[in-house]
């Protein structure tokens, strides 16, 4: 869907991005991660031409982005950013309808689309006529995402969208993004410096440093087969174990052939990292597991976390 070929960007003589080759596949959730100044935001902004690249070519749906009218290009992409950037003088509904207005949709269609998006993002319909300053941070960011999705864009570009939120709200919105991505199958490119966020969201993870890609691949590949010491350090040597566990859900490790145990069951949708925490907190090496609806159906063994995860990767 988006392809960078030998792309460079130079700001006042200093290369911000140099000789970048990158492909964001259709339907993939690509996450660009790196330290401040690694060029990840610049890379994202080159896609919708908020930053113009100096060398190389960038293709969008097979076409060189400069061959398309810039306004049309931008309207085919959703855009959400950290400071949210809701228009403070417009209501929630007007904000969501921004691109629809630009594309001159009919009033009835816009109203229907707003309802649909507010339901998708879990926004109470009563918020329609509120102004952004009357919403909580999490609600604002939901509106920001709804606005970016409004015209059903081919690509969704997100620049540290959850950076300014508290951990609880951020977690909820990350879950929401995963759900929306599964539901809509949109191509998403997200920039973040939060490692756990990147590991949780990405199908395709791109680690950048000094304007170049250090390594790209699935989160699992990055953790288990780091290309060099920088990658190892970046993902935290000491926390490698828990980060690996965070990539998987309880349901993949559950044993269903044992009789149910008493006690508060784990939800099968928790990550193994959360399960590990539960093992330690409850001083137990076997815990019951239930479906998301709370119906117990199996058990999770502490020892399984050790044998399977790391071993599988080592041998594969």
């Amino acid at each position: 869907m988006i392809e960078f070929r030998h792309v460079s960007k130079i700001f006042a003589g200093v290369p911000a991005v140099s000789d970048l080759n990158l492909e964001c596949k259709t339907g993939a959730f690509s996450v660009l991660i790196g330290t401040s100044g690694s060029g990840k935001s610049t890379t994202l902004k080159m896609i919708n031409r908020l930053v113009e690249h100096d060398e190389g070519t960038i293709l969008f749906a097979g076409e060189e982005i400069r061959s398309l009218p810039v306004l049309e290009l931008r309207r085919r992409m959703g855009y959400a950013i950290q400071s949210i950037g809701l228009f403070p003088h417009w209501t929630v509904a007007q904000n969501i309808a921004t691109v629809l207005q630009l594309q001159k949709w009919s009033k009835a269609k816009i109203t229907a689309r707003i309802d649909e998006l507010m339901a998708l993002l879990g926004l109470d319909p009563a918020l329609r006529d509120r102004y952004p300053h009357q919403l909580s941070g999490g609600q604002q960011q939901r509106v920001g995402v709804a606005r970016a999705l409004a015209a059903d864009p081919e690509v969704l570009l997100m620049d540290e969208p959850f950076g300014a939120l508290d951990p609880v709200t951020r977690g909820a919105l990350q879950q929401e993004m995963i759900r929306i991505h599964r539901l809509l199958g949109r191509t998403i490119v997200l920039v973040t410096h939060d490692i756990d966020e990147a590991l949780q969201l990405a199908d395709h993870l791109v680690l950048m440093d000094n304007g170049a890609i250090v390594q790209q691949g699935t989160p699992l590949e990055m953790l288990t087969r780091p290309a060099n010491d920088f990658v190892k350090d970046f993902f935290g040597r000491s926390e490698l174990g828990v980060r690996l566990l965070s990539l998987h859900q309880v349901k993949a490790w559950v044993r269903t052939n044992e009789k149910p145990l008493p006690g508060e069951p784990l939800s099968e949708e928790l990550t193994l990292r959360e399960a590990l925490s539960a093992f330690v907190a409850r001083q137990s090496d076997v815990l019951p597991v239930a479906t998301a609806d709370g119906v117990p159906y199996g058990t999770l063994h502490f020892s399984d976390l050790l044998t399977t995860e790391i071993a599988r990767e080592r041998h594969s």
């Binding site: 919708n48 400071s83 228009f87 403070p88």
Partner: protein, 245 residues
């Protein structure tokens, strides 16, 4: 109840009452200033003076708004940013130059009447509007600008739908300052033959007629206060969408 407590209503009523009652107040002023042979300004009606005054203020403020807002918009566009220091300097010079001096220079060139007064008032009024426009534009959050651009708004759409509405409260504050100064300053236009509420003041000053000065000054002051309250009302109308600061 709220309508009755509204100061704007009372001030306007007081102004109209003054316009109606002043022509009948000869007795009052002769009691206050017994030494004056003619204690009430009667060459023109106060209503005519007020209308002329507001015409002068209206024309010059409108021109100042067009110039100040226009220049402010142009120099905040990417293509016009190079002219920003120049425009700011010219506007600052315009305000530093005393309007009386502008009148003194303009009259020999274009003659007596309203025109030199308009020039002086416009020059004097542009700076606050320009500054308000620049400050208002600068206060539009960078994130909002970024998103507006990223969502595919054209330059014109960004200006009209995002920047100007968000900058409006600050721009209106600048216009408010400019117009209020203008109402007071317009009185000196009477020195070059324009008819304004300053006419009784100027005649009163040159003829040692304190009563004339008071009659003109009260009306000008009240007019300025009324317009100021009116602008406050306008500013409130633009404000409810913005977070309380």
């Amino acid at each position: 109840m709220n309508v009755i407590r509204d100061p704007l209503l009372w001030l306007t009523a007081a102004f109209i009452a003054l316009l109606v009652l002043l022509p009948h107040s000869a007795g009052l002023f002769s009691a206050l200033f017994p030494q004056l042979p003619r204690p009430l300004y009667q060459q023109e009606t106060f209503i005519a003076l007020t209308l002329a005054h507001f015409e002068l203020v209206g024309i010059s403020s409108l021109l100042a708004i067009v110039l100040g807002l226009g220049a402010g918009i142009i120099v905040t566009r990417p293509g016009g940013s190079e002219f920003r220091p120049l425009v700011e300097t010219i506007a600052a010079v315009g305000q530093t130059f005393p309007p009386v001096a502008v009148l003194a220079i303009a009259v020999p060139v274009i003659g007596f009447g309203k025109e030199p007064a308009v020039i002086a008032l416009v020059l004097y009024g542009v700076l606050p509007i320009l500054q308000g426009t620049l400050a208002g534009m600068a206060a539009v959050p960078a994130g909002v600008q970024d998103v507006a651009k990223g969502m595919g708004m054209s330059d014109r759409q960004r200006l009209l739908k995002v920047e100007l509405p968000l900058a409006a409260p600050v721009i209106i504050a600048g216009i408010r300052t400019s117009v209020i100064i203008n109402i007071g300053t317009a009185t000196i236009a009477s020195t070059v033959g324009a008819s304004t509420l300053g006419t009784p003041i100027i005649i009163g000053l040159s003829g040692f007629n304190t009563a004339y000065v008071i009659q003109g000054a009260i009306l000008v002051a009240l007019a300025a206060i009324i317009v100021d309250r009116g602008f406050e009302r306008l500013a409130q109308r633009f404000n409810p969408h913005r977070p309380a600061r």
